[in-house]
Amino acid sequence: MSSQQHGLSEPTPQWTEWGISVLNGMIGDYLHHRRNSLAIDMACYHRNRPLPLTTADLLRVHPNPGAKLCILLHGLGCNEGVWAFSDTPPDNPDSSYGTLLQRELGYTPFYLRYNTGLPVADNGKTLATLLDNLLSCYPTHVDDIVLIGHSMGGLVLRSACHYGIRQDCQWVDKVRRVFYLGTPHEGAILEQLGHVAVTVLQTVPNPITQIIGKILDRRSQGVKDLRSGSWLAEDGLDDDLEVGRPDHRGAAPWLAHARHYLLVGTLTEDPDHALTLLLGDALVRLPRAYGQSPLAAGSGPAPNPHIKIFPKVDHIRLAHDAKVYEQIKLWCGNE
């Protein structure tokens, strides 16, 4: 039985849930393989509890379900609490992108929590199945799905769309828009540096550096996948990928019928500032060709790409920023 299935009475994730989410990000694949009860199972969450996917439970949470759904997926080491503008529950009015989209544009929001230490492709497959289950018990007809992924969540969404098509999932055809907030489609610099550090430490013929390298190498496969933004099982493990070499193994098209929007933050006001060029939003750099079509090496152009840069909005803030929401609302409102 997993951690989230027990005695949680607080409406929003508290320090224990945050600690467990961070731990899952760091060593979640290990926890999963060891069947440790701290490993998180992917589920929709409502008021800090997993939401059973039954029609009755969905009606209990959303008494007036709409025909438009909004799925929100957090990033590495986070949980659904990252969407909250303040300390209020994410399903309270004004507290997150999901609730605002519900109130202003009629989207019914669902927040997911998952083990971010698992390979991105594994989470993508699980999400594809979970969304199919959600739709099969959703009380009314659905004709529009918006996907919002923060950081790693964006990669998981791409993966889910890919496997959703393969598994012939009914929800895929209903996806109209996908929002990627600070998603490392081209890899995350921190993990790239981490990989270099581990390689150097393990190469130096010294038992102390080797043991440190060995410990650092125990980081989760989810983290390692961020090195090149891998989201397909066919990519293989990122351990095999040489540093600095573009990853062409993840060549798969973006979901063709959907519109894809990239929202990226920067540390400085000027996107061309050296600090921003080096670090981007602190964890993810600007897309190499923002404003143009090629987004990720080998994955082809995104159909109708839209990229918006938010100066002085750091990586985490992308998940709960008023300006970011206004942009999402604007794009959601455009037919």
Partner: protein, 97 residues
Amino acid sequence: MSRLSIQQIRGVADLIHDTVAGSVDAIEETHQAIARKQFALLKQIDPIAAPVRTLEHIERNIAGGVYQSIRLTNRLAATVATQVLNWLEEAGDSPRP
């Protein structure tokens, strides 16, 4: 402030056990690698090669014994923790008089 559930405490206990076990393995491996290097150097000096070999043997046995005792203690602690958590879980499940 939220509290950890029994299941979560069980997970933490399992993780502590795994961490201690993994750390002991890694530390022993590193320790032996360092010791081997030093003894190999000393064994190149002919007059002391024989006593160094004996010393190496003794060191390996003592260190091995220490690491093994830590592993046993860790296993014992994990067993006790599991029993206590089982008992707490049963006590929590049973109806109050």
